[in-house]
């Protein structure tokens, strides 16, 4: 039973409660390169992500939305972690994060790039909550893809 409570504490770490309650970068970014909505129809979590990209580097990242502590904290931590990273680095970070929250059982070595994001590792013990943690990241991924295609379309019309 103690082990089970441990799992629960692992999920709801201080930093997650803090970011869930006081999300960072929680605002509309008027000067954005793209804005992407993300929605989890099963649980109703909803975010709008605003990203400013310059020369393939994320210069700013903000979000608005409503959802559970996990989805809000994950969005908040993501916007902190991706700033000033190249889009390639962000894609690698997405892979590492996805691995962190979906791989069952303990992980021996965490990639350094994850930084604070490791606090979300407890989610992997809660299959019904993994989507809460990955919503922001999937939203970012779709946004980056669309942005990439939009850019190349502009290029192709010239």
């Amino acid at each position: 039973m103690n082990g089970e409570l441990e799992e629960l504490r692992e999920l709801y770490q201080e930093m997650i409660i803090d970011h869930g309650r006081h999300p960072r970068n929680f605002k509309k970014l008027v000067d954005h390169s793209f804005c992407q909505e993300g929605y989890n129809p099963i649980c109703g979590d909803r975010i709008t992500l605003y990203i400013k990209v310059e020369d393939n580097v994320i210069r700013d990242a903000c979000f608005e939305g409503a959802g559970c502590a996990i989805s809000m904290a994950s969005s908040s931590l993501m916007t902190e972690q991706i700033k000033n990273k190249t889009t390639t680095e962000v894609r690698q970070l997405f892979e590492a994060f996805h691995h962190l929250v979906t791989e069952p059982g303990p992980i021996d070595k965490l990639p350094d790039c994850l930084g604070k994001l490791t606090v979300l590792g407890g989610v992997r013990e809660f299959p019904s909550r993994i989507k809460c943690a990955t919503l922001a990241w999937h939203t970012l991924n779709v946004g980056l893809e669309n942005d990439f295609h939009a850019q190349s379309q502009i290029v192709s019309t010239e």
């Binding site: 039973m1 629960l8 709801y12 309650r21 959802g67 559970c68 502590a69 996990i70 019904s128």
Partner: protein
């Protein structure tokens, strides 16, 4: 063969503790703690009588129905049709032909939308629903409106979660072709004054469909007293198997309706030029039905009938009062749905924790509740909440379960402040 009769004495002093033991799943543990199951509005647990009946069917009676000229098939048919008679008595329908077995409440409503409403609707006609409907009593009407050019009108609800009757009166007009409302709201617990609402619709010759999915497990339903034209409910919410439901319809309407699906069993003669449909109720039961489910459902109806829905209602109302009194004083907790007339369903939100977080923490306390929009997104929008946590009680729940719910909420407060 009612295993629970022994607990229901002549003076109807019911031993609720003994009845709880009829449900084997309720004695299991969850995360190292005894399970407290409070998601009965989603589905109910099954008593031994139902589990054993299905087991017996497969061991002793399994054959296809309405076909075989041999004793086993006749027995299966008998068991299947016996349940139809039980449903007829349970709802106090006039005739067994008015009882159609379908896959669930959802299919029952879709059947009425497509076979009854669709051929009768013209552009500009109106279908009237309420703002507290489950998606299954919204989307089938949206589909048929799109097909026919009819309009979907919605009766608003007040801050307590009650249908605003003045608005209902105002919305009924010469274009209204059907009223479709829920008997009890799954998200709010509101018991609607359906008898009065039906009478009002009938003064304008408008037929009424009731979504009874949440009502049949909690209160006695008499379709003749209500005078509803259609009544839909699901077996699994009243202690029976999943994948099965009932559509009650007044015979005069059912006779006039085209079949919903074509196939075996619903025909009397087939040639490539023409097909004659079977008589009621078989006209609406195409294909091999959910025989095992129907047979098990018969055992479920026997079980609840032996206890008596009037007793179940009284007992659950006590539980509801106990739960409401326990939850109301909790700081930062708000109950959504405070109608005067309510079934044993309590939806709530907390100012520090989202319903999903509440549900995860509750789960670790061994308490199963539902978190989300409860397939009633417009209700969530009406109360300006993204989701709610919902504890829904059955007669087998008790005050100790409610105390565990409160302990779980305290655990949420400990983590989220």
């Amino acid at each position: 063969m009612n295993s629970c009769e022994r607990f229901v004495q002549a003076d109807k002093e019911i031993n609720w503790t003994a009845l709880r033991e009829d449900f084997p799943l309720l004695s299991r543990q969850m995360h190292g703690k005894p399970l407290v199951y409070l998601d009965n509005a989603a589905t109910t647990q099954k008593p031994n009588a139902v589990i054993e009946r299905i087991n017996h069917y497969y061991r002793q009676e399994n054959a296809n129905v309405h076909r075989g000229i041999y004793e086993l098939s006749e027995r299966a048919t008998q068991a299947y049709e016996d349940t139809r008679d039980k449903v007829k008595r349970f709802l106090n329908a006039r005739q067994r032909e008015e009882i159609i077995f379908v896959r669930g409440t959802t299919e029952a409503i879709n059947l009425v939308a497509q076979s009854f409403a669709r051929p009768r609707l013209k552009p500009g006609d109106e279908i009237l629903i309420s703002a507290m409907e489950h998606h299954s009593n919204i989307v089938p009407w949206q589909i048929v409106c799109k097909q026919t050019g009819a309009l979907l009108k919605v009766i608003p609800i007040n801050d307590s979660g009650e249908i605003i009757q003045d608005q209902y009166r105002a919305l009924l007009n010469e274009n209204t072709r059907l009223v479709a409302i829920t008997h009890i709201s799954n998200a709010l617990g509101t018991i609607n004054p359906v008898k009065e609402m039906i009478a009002l619709a009938h003064t304008n010759d408008i037929p009424v469909l009731l979504d009874g999915a949440q009502a049949v497990p909690h209160l006695p339903v008499d379709v003749q007293v209500l005078d509803c034209d259609f009544y839909a409910f699901s077996s699994h919410k009243i202690y029976g198997p999943t994948g099965l439901g009932v559509l009650y319809g007044k015979r005069s309407y059912l006779e006039d309706m085209e079949p919903y699906q074509g196939g075996g069993d619903m025909i009397s003669h087939v040639s490539f030029e023409n097909t004659e449909y079977n008589v009621l109720p078989y006209k609406f039961e195409a294909g091999t039905p959910h025989i095992e489910g129907v047979v098990g459902f018969g055992a479920a109806l026997d079980y609840v009938s032996a206890i008596g829905l009037d007793h179940i209602l009284a007992h659950e109302q006590q539980l509801l009062d106990y739960a409401a009194e326990a939850l109301q004083p909790i700081e930062g907790l708000r109950i959504i749905g405070t109608a005067n007339n309510k079934a044993s369903i309590i939806s709530f939100v907390m100012n520090t924790a989202h319903p999903h977080d509440i549900s995860t923490i509750m789960d670790y306390e061994g308490v199963a509740i539902r978190a989300g929009h409860h397939c009633a997104m417009p209700v969530m929008e009406r109360f300006k909440v993204p989701a709610t946590a919902r504890a829904s009680m059955a007669f087998y729940n008790n005050e100790a379960d409610i105390n565990r719910l409160v302990e779980g909420i305290m655990q949420v407060k400990k983590i989220f402040g």
